[in-house]
Amino acid sequence: MYTKNYYTDLFKVTETQLQELTGTALAQGGDYCDLYFEHTTFFNLLLKDSIVSSGGFHTDFGVGIRVLKGEKTGYAYSENTEMKDMLGAAKAASAIATGSATACRQYHPVENRSHDLYPMKENWREKGANAFLPFLTDLEKAILAKDNRIVKVIIRLSDSVSDVLMYNSLGELTFDTRPMGSVSVTTVFQQDGKTENKSVSRSFRIGAEFIGPALLNEIAEEAVKGIDQRFEAIRPKGGQMSVVMGAGASGILLHEAMGHAFEADFNRKGQSIFSDKLGQRVCPAGVNVVDDGTVAYNRGSGNYDDEGVPAEKTYMVKDGILCSYLHDRISASWYGVNPTGNGRRENFRYNPIPRMRATYMESGNADPEGMIASVRNGIYVDEFSNGQVKIGEGDFTFFVKSGFLIENGRLTAPVKDINIIGNGPQALADILAVGNDLKIDNGTWTCGKEQSVPVSCGMPTVLISSLTVGGE
């Protein structure tokens, strides 16, 4: 963990300059302002056709300056930390207010952070490409050895490290260094003239110790898992049916069906289907849904959010009752509550807005096999790609890459490539059982609400009485 001086030296700013910048930003009467300094290094390698034949690194550096006047936002940034350029950005952001200057509070750095969620044992920046080349080639070999139908393996390894310094007109100075390591693999198989593909990924806020034999074996195993079923898979007859959502990646249901609709900016503006549902029952009793920024090494976690608010575990639904939206500082102030640490941004070029982190449902008591056994005609789904939601209407979808038909309580024919659609409040009300097997999915989930931010999701096995399933 670095000290304050590491960050102030990196960005070449002093306490006096930070105060001058916030003073300039509030010179026209804003209520609050914050500065977000960021230096990020990205690194990537790509293996195709058995050669690590491309790679690179990328550097991004700058400071974003935000001024709030009530719920209104002024935002500008500079790609360097020369004082004259930062002052120019501060003046541009100050344009949201038109009045006389607002005083800033005294400088007080937060030296002891409340979390240390992703300590790096090995810093990615201190490793060269050579350190990872054997991993890529060994992983390819391990995958190829598992199935002679494989015709192509594409492996991407990427990492990033972001140094972030945040200062605001409340005088709070916070800082963080955020690593991220990701490996994703696409494998292409051919059998009897048919081609199928399978993708697998792992991503964590972790140092370079992430790359090793355990990860290699885990990914190689999953890269070929279920491919027989994929060649046999059918499209089910479409329509409304019971859906058993397998533990893990099924958390995409929570992300789309409720998570976005619980983000407080949509609710503050009255746009969400859940805008007037705070304190009301939205799920059956016993269901708890969490958005958590404190899961160690998780892709969605942060010691602080991007407004300098310490990470927390936020219950959105407790015992079936909607108990909190996901807040940034703007919506928290509007609702008169504390921010929940959900103010996030893609990088210094963007102002923070309420975003999810790791969104999951806590385990219930039901036996997953019993849930399947209880379904006469339905579908079991366990692998997904993308999803989407319409905030006002509450209609959400997610794309199923693999699953099985359920006939008379048994998994039968494999299915693939179908979309499922439902309505958020209805789907939540239709939860019949929650399994005892919560699993967080650690794939490369990225949420694209206005800006791209890393997230993750998880769920125990859940039975929903009715969703609309695409089919033939």
């Binding site: 500008a76 292409v188 993308n386 209609d395």
Partner: protein, 454 residues
Amino acid sequence: MITSHEISLAQHCIRHAVSSGASAARVSLNKTVTDSYTILNGELDKVSHSADRSIYIYLFVEGRYGTFSTNRLEQNEVEDFIIKAIEMVRMLGEDNCRRLPDPERTAKDALTGRELGLFDDRYFSLDSEERLASAMKLSKYAGIRQREEGFRLISEECEYSCTADDNYVADSNGFEGRHSETTFGTFSEMTIEDPEGCKYSGYWWQTCQKYDGTDYGIGEKALQRAVSQIGPKKRRSGVYRMVVDSTVSSRLTSPLFTALNASSIQQKMSFLEGSIGQQVFPAGMTLMDLARTPGKNGSRLFDTEGTATKDAPIIENGIVRQYFVNTYHSEKMGIPATVEDISRPCLMPFIKGRDLQDGEKEVSLEDILKLAQNGILVTGFNGGNCNPVTGDFSYGIEGFAFSKGKITHPVREMLITGNIMELWNDLLAAGTDARPSSRWQIPTLAFENIVFSA
């Protein structure tokens, strides 16, 4: 925008890379300035100013290749950056297919960046007050609140943005190209509530390269789209004709362009492998890449490698005429290089079983609804995906049922499922109503035999 000093820096990067051990190099220098104003319920909600500057460096070193970028453009920093980048490329695997495009194929006519007429100098004369005034003109909030009938306006969000982009590309074979454009964008989203308390949202947008082309009436269109969704009815699962409105029809062409890319084909991730020269689409269906049309969104004189674009058929009378093949995949696959990807796709008008002559009358959404008679008009997609290997797709949709060529009622929470090649072979009609401001000129489409689930 890009200054002569910055161009000198880009050229210096190439020289520095070559003198430091690279066998070849390309740089791409990008500058973008955007100002945007968001209006919420008739009041200014957000103002933002952004100015980006970055350099991408593509290095070819002893048969190896890497891509690098930075936004720290001090000369000494960039020089150190390039040295480290070359060190990294040396560690990678050798692949002799990596090389710059043949100088014969690079563009020679993109010297000023202004050749296509996509840059409006009016951009520089706009001050913040004029931009704010333009944003405020978008808001229809007060007027709509006074005439709410059958709905209540929950919120109106409008955004006005103006952007200037400047891109300079050069390589160690002597290529230099520049592309500059301005974009004036407007967006409006209305959220309404019906008397039963159900919410609906509608949005509309416009982008254009000229300041004078800005459409301030988009709010009414957004409201109309929201109101039209009130009172959706369930529709049974079944096989229907499907009309896809020109605002969203490009969603169905996107998988074709991915499948026609040599990168997908070489990795066996394409359902169009082996289709070049084959009639795999319906006779009469023609899709052009009209990359060099002056003044049109999406036009460009060179691709990311510097290769000169061409106006060319991609699919002609149902026959696949072109894959998108960059220099690397040309070498890798032993096929001629074309361009890296599509620039400005234009689907020509089409009516199944009828020869459309050049200049024949316009074919509108109304014409296509009449032609299709009964079915479902899709005005929005909600999620879904298309398998790049098989072409199997499944998408959520919203829109309207229509009968005897007339819209009857809104529908939602429906899905379409099928195979993208089978879908295109069931093409019934393509209109002439692609949105003028869109980069992809894909008009209203009609298809037969579409499986809907509800």
